[in-house]
């Protein structure tokens, strides 16, 4: 195996690891969109708050990392509930553009509030996880951990969706919301559960991302756009489509970044997205209706 092949393999593996985290990111957004038909523009800002939560709990208050993570997941889940109850629920009957603008307003509110409260300095956990060296390739432990946790979380969500009555209702509501009362389903309750779940997934993403990235008030801009593009590419609301699109994007970023620069990987990924919007505007996994 030539030296270049090893780099390529390493890039593919890192792409795979990145894909797992991106898939987790898009799952939360997709769930909320599929079920409530609302796009949480401020989704990545919930992740930003979660990352700050981790920073304060672990670095400032010295909570054990697992405890900090659990608290963070629960708290961001509650934030998701609050976002639904306070902002989305009153606007459910409003025009989609108004709902979009409202969550956009929440985005700027959270960014500004974070700037005021936490300052604009970059902060991190000060935690250095080892880098594994396997067959001449370097794979960071934090990425492996993130990948594993994301995969476990997605399996749990899958089991929830396919094995429980609440999960069946979540899938059903995404297909025909008007007749849900005929099934005896209280749609408001399912909306709240979904929002809490979407928030909790953002919280978990925060725990995993804070292991690799510094947190600052605008960190949402790093993850937000790519999360949306993945959801759109996989057809908004289609959980399986988002999953596949996440890995496609991650490989483009990782392998594309190998030949030039990491930043170029993102350029390729977004260029790919624009081209796909012409070729398949309904998304990769569009359903024939």
């Amino acid at each position: 195996m030539g030296i270049f092949d090893i780099f390529l393999l390493e890039a593919v593996i890192n792409g795979l690891l990145l894909g797992g985290v991106l898939a987790l990111l898009s799952l939360g957004l997709n769930l909320v969109f599929g079920v409530i038909d609302v796009v949480w523009i401020c989704y990545a800002e919930l992740i930003m708050l979660g990352m700050y939560g981790m920073y304060f709990l672990y670095t400032v208050y010295h909570a054990p990392i697992v405890v900090a993570g659990a608290v963070c997941i629960v708290c961001v889940g509650i934030l998701g509930l609050a976002l639904h109850a306070l902002v989305i629920a009153p606007l459910l009957g409003a025009a989609p553009i108004n709902q979009l603008l409202a969550t956009g307003g929440v985005l700027f509110f959270l960014q500004s509030a974070a700037t005021v409260l936490f300052g604009i300095e970059f902060k991190n956990l000060g935690l250095r996880l080892p880098v594994l060296k396997v067959a001449g390739m370097f794979v960071s432990y934090s990425r492996l951990l993130a990948f594993g946790a994301a995969l476990i979380a997605m399996v749990l969500v899958y089991l929830l969706l396919t094995r429980t009555y609440t999960g069946a209702a979540i899938r059903a509501i995404a297909q025909d919301r008007q007749i849900m009362p005929l099934m005896g389903v209280d749609t408001r309750r399912i909306y709240l559960i979904t929002s809490g779940l979407g928030g909790a997934l953002a919280g978990l993403a925060a725990c995993l991302l804070v292991l690799q990235y510094d947190v600052h008030p605008f960190v949402g801009l790093t993850f937000g756009p790519i999360t949306f593009l993945i959801c759109v590419l996989g057809s908004l609301g289609n959980f399986g489509g988002g999953f596949v699109a996440a890995f496609v994007f991650a490989e483009i970023i990782s392998v594309g970044g190998l030949y030039l620069d990491l930043e170029w990987g993102y350029v390729f990924a977004f260029a790919f997205f624009i081209v796909m919007m012409f070729v398949r505007p309904e998304g990769l996994m569009a359903r024939r209706s």
Binding site: A169, A172, P181, G184, V185
Partner: protein, 234 residues
Amino acid sequence: MLELKAVRAGYGTFQALFDVSLEVHRGEAVGVIGPNGAGKTTLMRVVSGLIRPTDGTLVMEGVDLAATPAHRIVELGVAHVPESRRLFPRMTVEDNLRMGGFVPAARPKFRRQLEVVYELFPRMRERRHQLAGSMSGGEQQMCAIGRALMSEPKLLLLDEPSAGLAPVLVEQVFELVNRIRASGLTVLIVEQNVQQVLRVVDRAYLLKTGRIHTAGRAAELLASDSIREAYLGV
């Protein structure tokens, strides 16, 4: 069992039902017939709570339906098979049936009730892992009725069960209504297929532009000149 008195309902400023009064007794099959746009579907939606009445009273076994949240009406024993079936197309037949048995009281009985539905529709057992949206219209109608039966209702509301089906399947649907009745269920059925529905129900109401125009025993309506002229074309 079900009693509507002077019910008014509509969509926004459009009023679809004007002072509709109607009764369904336990064990009966009652039909509501009438032309397109007469308010038949609205009537069904008012009973199952999808639309709230603006006036009048709606009582099911002593419980005021107008004051019951829509998602609690199923628990009172009312199951609605909506117009054009409205299955969850990207869920399997069995998952659709599971949704029909969503209410807490139905969950422990899921397996048993599933058997009841599969006995009634052996075809659904064969197709249980198939996506509901990929089945034929007739099969989807079976699945929709099966879904409604999963909650073990006392009153079954059927909205245009024969719509969009081939003539041979229409026969089957009405034959099915007879079998469902025989199992002791009370049925309220809305149909455009006047002649055939009048052969399976005990009584029927003729709804015209949101008002009850005529009511009577099915046999009498079948024989009445005005119905014959207007709907049977003879």
